[in-house]
């Protein structure tokens, strides 16, 4: 069972690395959205510093949303998803592997690039440190919740708009706790509470969403 988990993880990562051009897209999008903000709001450092946590986190949400479709779409198209569904392995475990693979491909680059972008927005060192932690804890939640949304819409021809309508309201708690933590850190306040809440959300999401996604997939494929 654990071997099946590893095989799916390895397969998804290999597939992603073979499509190197696509690999860069989410993180490029993330950088672009953040760069657009100073151009729109104005280059005043005091304002930028204040909105930095929100801007970076909203950009992270959007780039996650943009790449979500990949979790199941290609597998649906080439039929491997059906093979997974009829295999003897528990589907929720395979989905967990796919969620983790998706996060490593799209979330991890954002986690690594985010702190550098925060530097451009003038966030203090404490704020950047906390931003890194919240991104590390928060972005897997995005992939996990997103997997349910994709599982529900993967059978549709134009699932994209509906996907954002389904998923974005569910992302709100992550956005709130994460940007709160970063804001508090930048202002010199303790950040334990929001980060603890984020970690709780992560555990909850990782334990419940594969289950919901697998029943949604069975519906979509049937």
């Amino acid at each position: 069972m654990f071997q099946a988990f590893l095989i799916i993880l390895q397969r998804d990562l290999t597939l992603a690395i073979r499509h190197r051009a696509e690999l860069m897209n989410p993180v490029l999008f993330f950088v672009l959205v953040v760069v657009l903000f100073p151009l729109g709001v104005g280059a005043e450092m005091s304002i930028l510093e204040k909105i930095a946590p929100g801007v970076i986190w909203i950009a992270a949400l959007l780039s996650a949303l943009l790449s979500l479709d990949r979790i199941f779409r290609t597998d649906m198209e080439d039929g491997s998803l059906e093979q997974m569904l009829i295999s003897a392995q528990p589907m929720s475990l395979l989905i967990l592997a796919k969620i983790i693979a998706h996060w490593m491909i799209t979330g991890l680059p954002v986690v690594l690039v985010g702190p550098f972008l925060a530097l451009f927005l003038g966030l203090s060192v404490d704020g950047i440190e906390t931003l890194f932690i919240t991104l590390l804890v928060g972005t897997p939640i995005l992939s996990a919740i997103g997997s349910v949304g994709v599982a529900l819409t993967v059978g549709l021809r134009r699932g994209g708009v509906i996907l954002s309508l389904l998923v974005l309201p569910l992302y709100v708690p992550v956005l709130i706790f994460a940007s709160q933590a970063v804001g508090a850190a930048a202002a010199g306040f303790p950040t334990v509470a929001p980060i603890a809440m984020l970690s709780a959300l992560l555990l909850l999401a990782l334990s419940l969403t594969p289950w919901a996604a697998s029943s949604a997939l069975k519906m979509s494929v049937s």
């Binding site: 349910v148 819409t153 309508l165 309201p169 919901a212 949604a216």
Partner: protein
């Protein structure tokens, strides 16, 4: 016993006949409650010492806000029934509740906004309860959009049921995260378990209105569900029999 009832309820003809017996009762109770509640609220209740007469909008606003959550719970519950027992009636209740719930949520938002203008001096504030109500509206709209996008109705109902259940897990999380984020809304007036901080003459009409809204929802959801049911079962024998009976009766007249 309960299971037997649920199985019975799952049969479309039984549901149809039961609902046609319930509907007149529901409508009657609904009208009486609305009449007494509105009279009590708009005429008998004294004006608020601070807000004057404009507080009276709570007789629409608060019941609508309660209903927005209540209907979501009904929706999630029928979603669970639809997923576990594949009951067609539950699927129908689920999607029709979504439409009505969205309207209640919208009503709560609009009346709140109308009340907020004279009281807070602004149509909208990014307050916790307003924001979570707005997010609830988006959850409803997501359900409706997803249902509309999937062509096969049974499949769509299952998808929506899963979504409703995911939403139910998330509603408390969203609510509290938004609550801690910021709040300006006045604290709850009625849900305190000790003596409510509201005059009894204001309080009774509010409760009447709350029940009036519940029965109103009952009437509307049954009407819609019956329509939906007839349409889905239009090729089945019992519907044909039903209309054959009706034709006979009309011929006799």
């Amino acid at each position: 016993m309960i299971m037997k009832f649920i199985y019975k309820l799952g049969s479309p003809p039984y549901f149809y006949h039961l609902s046609s017996k319930l509907l007149p009762w529901f409508s009657g109770i609904c009208i009486i409650l609305f009449a007494t509640g509105l009279f009590g609220g708009l005429v008998l209740a004294p004006a608020d010492y601070q807000q004057g007469d404009s507080f009276r909008i709570i007789y629409i606003h608060v019941p609508a806000a309660w209903m927005s959550l209540f209907v979501y719970m009904v929706m999630a519950f029928s979603g669970a029934m639809a997923l576990i027992w594949r009951i067609k009636i539950a699927e129908i209740m689920l999607i029709n509740s979504a439409h009505i719930g969205a309207v209640f949520t919208f009503l709560a938002l609009v009346t709140g906004s109308i009340w907020g203008k004279p009281m807070w001096g602004t149509w909208w504030v990014w307050d916790a309860r307003l924001t979570s109500e707005l997010l609830l509206l988006f959850l409803y709209l997501g359900v409706i959009a997803l249902y509309g996008a999937i062509e096969d109705q049974r499949k769509a109902a299952r998808a929506v049921a899963i979504l409703a259940l995911v939403g139910v897990v998330n509603i408390p999380i969203i609510h509290y995260s938004v609550e801690w984020w910021s709040t300006l809304h006045q604290g709850p007036t009625v849900t305190k378990f000790d003596k409510p901080s509201i005059d009894i003459r204001m309080f009774v009409p509010l409760i009447l209105m709350a029940f009036a809204f519940k029965f109103f929802y009952g009437v509307v959801v049954l009407l819609r569900a019956r329509n939906d049911l007839l349409w889905r079962e239009r090729r089945s024998q019992w519907v044909a029999n039903l209309f054959a009976e009706k034709d006979v009766k009309e011929d006799v007249k």
